[in-house]
């Protein structure tokens, strides 16, 4: 090793290295580039250009996959967010419906301060195109008794025809066994609204025993008269859609479309007490 370190080759090389280090450094400190540095960088530039372009190509290729992964991840996040928002919308829709129902309920309370209500939800329906009997989620435990009227803010739904501890069944006004004392709001003509087998499938009921000279027209509103023990006076039953003569009895019958959409009703109010209410049972409501 000592021989090599003392050799001309090594000494010259070392001196050359020192010169090659010192001269460019001094030139650089003076703000001038050295020839060696300049030449090497000139040679390197095209290679660097090619390397950079190749690198960028690979980067673009890799970017595609990175972006795909990012988009996939973003898609997952957005889907989750969408689901969350859909749930919120569904909840707000339910809240809106409940709000409307409570608003209507409040209106009824103001209109009829003597009514004692029990709110109930429809939890079951009789199968068929037009529901004539529906099951509610309250019963004797809530103070519900037979023949109590069930209504909504739109009008009469029916009456409690069967009651259990936590449930009850309501027969709607289109049920054949139902009859309600009623009058025509415009003219005061009185009659009885009953369920009719042939009309119930259309969702209608019938006002019978109207004299042939009765003042009744299509579009007239029919109101409960309060005659009987089930329904209080002044509740809307429905609207006249058709007037037909009854040849056998020589009277008129009017087809009534109930004010309440019995197909879609989901919440009702059962009137537990009202002025004039008696607890006498009535076999067919009124």
């Amino acid at each position: 090793m000592a021989r090599f370190l003392k050799s001309k080759f090594f000494i010259i090389a070392l001196l050359l290295a020192i010169v090659l280090v010192t001269v460019p450094s001094v030139l650089a400190l003076m703000g001038q580039g050295s020839v060696v540095r300049n030449v090497l960088n000139v040679i390197a530039t095209p290679f660097r250009f090619v390397i950079t372009k190749t690198e960028e190509s690979f980067e673009g290729f890799a970017m595609y996959f990175r972006e795909f992964d990012d988009m996939h991840e973003e898609n997952k996040v957005l889907r989750a967010r969408l689901k969350e928002l859909e749930e919120q919308v569904a909840k707000s829709e339910a809240v809106r419906e409940e709000n409307k129902w409570l608003y209507d309920y409040l209106g009824l309370r103001r209109l009829h301060p003597d009514y004692v209500f029990e709110a109930a939800t429809v939890v079951g329906r009789e199968s068929g195109n037009y529901m004539t009997v529906m099951t509610l989620d309250c019963g004797t435990a809530n103070g519900i008794k037979l023949n109590m009227p069930a209504i909504t803010s739109e009008g009469i739904v029916g009456y409690v025809s069967e009651v259990g501890l936590t449930w009850c069944k309501v027969s709607t006004i289109i049920e054949t066994a139902t009859s309600v004392g009623a009058y025509v709001e415009r003219s005061g003509e009185i009659g009885v609204v009953k369920g009719d087998y042939s009309l119930k499938n259309q969702g209608y009921c019938q006002m019978s025993y109207l004299s042939t000279d009765s003042d009744i027209k299509v579009g007239d509103r029919i109101i409960s008269s309060g005659i009987g023990v089930v329904y209080p006076r002044g509740l809307l039953i429905g609207t006249v859609t058709e007037i037909v003569p009854d040849a056998a009895s020589r009277t008129l019958s009017a087809h009534i479309e109930p004010a309440v959409d019995l197909k879609d009703v989901s919440r009702v109010m059962i009137i537990k007490d009202f002025a004039g209410y008696t607890e006498e049972p009535a076999d067919t409501a009124e």
């Binding site: 090793m1 370190l5 400190l29 960088n41 390197a44 660097r48």
Partner: protein, 180 residues
């Protein structure tokens, strides 16, 4: 160390120098264009010095001397500005590695690994001193922050370059001018 010089002509030495220069130039391009951009492990890995060490181990002290100077010169020209003494540092480290190989170590991967880690450590210390002098960086803080990452990163990324250096040597110059 008893060394026996094999007949080597200047022509041969020049040919070797050109081949190794091109290889070191390629390594420097990768180091200064690609690795300096991505800085794996937070540092720019050193590729040229491990290549110089590999040449020194396999090709002897003359090649080590020349390649040390050329490697240092290339890396200083392409990779830094201002004062730089890589040519001298690389040359001395390469000569040291060549002599260590012939006296203590052997011409294999383990020898290269040991010599490379030692050379990188020295180089990092020199860089820390230079950083302290040129920009006033605290020596120990700079050294502590970069030391292990620099050695690890440089060693990992220079592995393929070691393989290629060895292949070049086997293909073209497998007749050393000095045997230990």
């Amino acid at each position: 160390m008893n060394s026996q010089r094999s007949p080597i002509t200047w022509q041969k030495l020049t040919r070797k120098s050109i081949v190794w220069s091109l290889w070191l130039f390629a390594a420097a391009l990768v180091q200064t264009s690609v690795l300096s951009r991505y800085q794996p492990f937070g540092v720019v890995p050193e590729i040229v010095l491990p290549c110089v060490i590999a040449i020194a181990i396999h090709d002897g002290e003359r090649s080590a001397t020349i390649c040390g100077i050329i490697g240092g010169l290339i890396i200083d020209s392409l990779g830094s500005g201002g004062f730089s003494a890589s040519a001298v540092v690389y040359m001395l480290l390469a000569v040291a590695a060549a002599f260590l190989t012939y006296s203590v170590l052997s011409r294999d991967f383990l020898s290269w690994a040991i010599a490379t880690v030692f050379a990188l450590a020295v180089c990092n210390v020199v860089s820390s001193i230079y950083a302290g002098i040129s920009v006033g960086a605290p020596f120990f803080e700079y050294l502590g922050r970069t030391f292990f990452r620099y050695i690890f990163s440089s060693f990992i990324f220079s592995l393929p370059f070691y393989v290629v250096t060895r292949l070049i040597w086997r293909r073209f110059f497998n007749n050393r001018e000095m045997e230990g």
